[in-house]
């Protein structure tokens, strides 16, 4: 509700906005292995920027370069317009929350949070009030005197967050911050993280392999693979308009249909095998006649019905192979006449016993012309 009233936060679309972090043609090699490959990206102040990718894609290396634990082999990284290569990690206005939390086991929660502040020479009342503020922010007041091994995993995670935020860094790096928490706690903590990010106004860069987490928290997501950024965009655009098959496949569930394109006006007809009529799709890209195309469509945009729907250009008959019941949703695996299996998802608005479709039934799947995305290659 309040979202609509606030101006949309999208500094990356504003040409006057100065980025907080700039990667300029950054390459990082470890021996023969190229971890980061000629990467250029701007990250803006107050952003919650997620680096998403499978393990080994270079996202952690990218973050460690920001923290100062690795230096780029080529290229420069600028923080507020200043090259950070010569600045050691202990002098950077950047703090990191480690995947293992890296809490000092010999120090109490209070001492852990005060650690960075003391190194700045803060003491007395200023130190006390800053640490107390952090304890309040992360709701840890009651645990100030405990040692890290005396608190739970979720509490430890919050201590790590409080410690890394205490120095009010320009940029906070979070390395898989919620990886060690169970699912329920993780979801709660995601919202807490967003809340804290908003309250403190700190720029967050988060590394994660959990796409749901990235979708929830991030203002923009960078999908990485083999040291390159495949797509950098808002969660909605990443999901609705992936630019490659890789991104479409990596984020969420998707049907990828391979075919040949035939442009006809604003629409493209896609031939996708014997025995099935062409798919009608729309795209802004131009395709040559007969060019290879991948049509990506999310299961929730495909509907299943017993009768043939007549208000859509895309309706295909098939047989139900399998039904995955997820409680709130069911995913139908429907085999087309050409052997391709299309996943269609529908909300279970009725109780199980009342539903008409079951295994082996002949059904119609359908979707609108704008429901899917056409991808080259």
């Amino acid at each position: 509700m309040t979202e609509a009233l606030r101006p949309v936060f999208a500094p990356w679309n504003d040409p006057d906005e100065k980025p907080l972090i700039q990667f300029k043609n950054v390459t990082k090699r470890f021996g023969d292995f190229t971890a980061i490959d000629d990467l250029t990206i701007d990250i803006f102040e107050r952003e919650f920027f997620a680096l998403l990718g499978p393990s080994g894609c270079g996202k952690t290396t990218l973050m460690r370069m920001l923290a100062g634990f690795e230096t780029p082999t080529e290229g420069t990284i600028l923080l507020s317009g200043q090259d950070i290569a010569p600045i050691p990690p202990n002098k950077r206005a950047v703090n990191m929350m480690f995947q293992s939390y890296a809490l000092f086991p010999h120090l109490s929660v209070w001492e852990n949070i005060a650690f960075g502040l003391k190194r700045e020479g803060m003491k007395g009342d200023a130190l006390n009030s800053r640490v107390d503020e952090m304890l309040r922010l992360t709701r840890l007041e009651r645990f100030a005197k405990r040692k890290p091994h005396q608190i739970s995993g979720g509490q430890r995670q919050r201590v790590a967050l409080a410690r890394s935020l205490a120095k009010a860094p320009k940029l906070l790096l979070l390395d898989e911050p919620l990886g060690a928490l169970d699912k329920k706690l993780r979801q709660d903590t995601q919202f807490e993280l967003m809340d804290i990010q908003e309250k403190t106004g700190t720029t967050f860069v988060i590394v994660t392999h959990d796409q749901e987490e990235a979708m929830t928290v991030a203002s923009r997501i960078a999908v990485m693979d083999e040291g390159r950024m495949i797509q950098v965009d808002t969660p909605a655009r990443i999901y609705e308009a992936p630019n490659t098959v890789y991104v479409a496949d990596f984020i969420g569930d998707v049907n990828i249909i391979e075919g040949r394109a035939t442009p006809s006006g604003e629409q493209v007809q896609i031939a996708w095998g014997e025995g099935v009529s062409d798919i009608t799709g729309t795209t802004e890209k131009s395709f040559d006649s007969g060019e290879k195309v991948h049509f990506a469509i999310r299961p929730e945009k495909v509907s299943v019905s017993v009768e043939k729907p007549d208000d859509t250009p895309n309706a295909f008959q098939g047989k139900v192979l399998d039904i995955a019941y997820l409680g709130n949703l069911s995913t139908y695996h429907v085999e087309m006449h050409n052997g391709q299996i299309i996943k269609a998802q529908s909300a279970n608005t009725r109780r199980l016993s009342r539903r008409a479709i079951t295994w082996g039934d002949t059904v119609w799947i359908s979707f609108t012309a704008t429901a899917g995305v056409l991808l080259k290659g």
Partner: protein
């Protein structure tokens, strides 16, 4: 019943291998020297029954302990042993800590080899290794020959039969006992803790003092006790390397037993030594327990 049986095993062990021998030594320390076999009186003669037993008890006294108090040789020997043990422990820590630290910094594939090298000296007899030091430290020993060959000294250094030789011998012998516990404490240390410290504004050196050092404290304390406790009663090293200049209680004990054949007095020396050692041993146990709890 089963629980009782389980507990009984270690208690029996303690009883048979510590308490019974200690009781025997304590009894001898209350006896008087005599020219007999064994060389002390009274002997318990159970054939004489209850009367014999009371007579036996009546003959025991604290004369030997009183003698220990009167003759300043003993109390000087105790003090000198404490001093030598404390200094050697400190020197061993000073040398052992950097070695243990370097071992944990070495690459993963080298660590087993390095660990092996630390333990390797145990494969040879302790006595032989100490004898070897005589060959190294003597006036015509390897060390002096090398130094003179290099022109660093014109006259041989006198090291053997001085306290320096004793320190060298003790540090050399007990170094692995210092390295191993410190190494095991440092090895458990998560590297990301140091990165976190750096990230929060520490220089490398500061991170060492604020994170690495306090987290290896358990290992340091364990190592220090493992060196200090046996060094206090050490007699082989001071008698082989220290000559007559070094006064250590272990050597005094040996002399009383084997040169003077004064078993009762020697036993009294041993009892006092044990009483002195009980304090650091208890402290050591408490440190170990605290360590386990914090790892809990």
């Amino acid at each position: 019943m089963r629980r009782f049986a389980l507990i009984a095993v270690p208690y029996f062990w303690l009883l048979a291998l510590f308490l019974v021998p200690f009781a025997i030594v304590f009894k001898i320390s209350l006896s008087d020297i005599a020219l007999s076999i064994p060389p002390y009186l009274p002997q318990l003669d159970l054939a004489k029954g209850w009367k014999g037993f009371t007579k036996f008890l009546g003959a025991l006294d604290f004369e030997n302990f009183e003698f220990l108090m009167m003759d300043d040789l003993y109390y000087k020997a105790y003090l000198s042993s404490l001093k030598i043990a404390a200094i050697s422990t400190f020197l061993t820590l000073l040398i052992g800590y950097p070695i243990a630290y370097a071992m944990t910094r070495a690459s993963e594939e080298w660590r087993p080899t390095l660990l092996m090298l630390v333990i390797l000296p145990f494969w040879t007899s302790f006595l032989i290794r100490v004898y070897a030091w005589i060959g190294i430290l003597g006036q015509e020993g390897f060390l002096n020959q090398t130094l003179m060959f290099l022109g660093l000294t014109s006259e041989p250094l006198i090291i053997l039969n001085t306290p320096i030789a004793v320190y060298i011998g003790i540090v050399y012998t007990y170094l692995p006992f210092m390295i191993l516990p410190i190494y095991s404490a440092l090895e458990k240390l998560d590297d990301s803790l140091l990165e976190a410290a750096e990230d929060l504004g520490c220089s490398r050196i500061k991170a060492f003092w604020l994170v690495t050092f306090p987290l290896s404290r358990g290992g340091i304390i364990a190592g220090c006790f493992l060196v200090f406790i046996p060094t206090l009663g050490e007699f082989v090293i001071p008698s082989l390397l220290g000559g007559s200049n070094t006064l250590m209680i272990g050597k005094v004990l040996w002399d009383e037993f084997f040169s003077n054949r004064d078993w009762p007095l020697a036993s009294a020396v041993a009892v006092i030594l044990l009483l002195i050692l009980i304090i650091p041993i208890i402290l050591f146990q408490r440190n170990e327990q605290k360590q386990r709890e914090s790892e809990g």
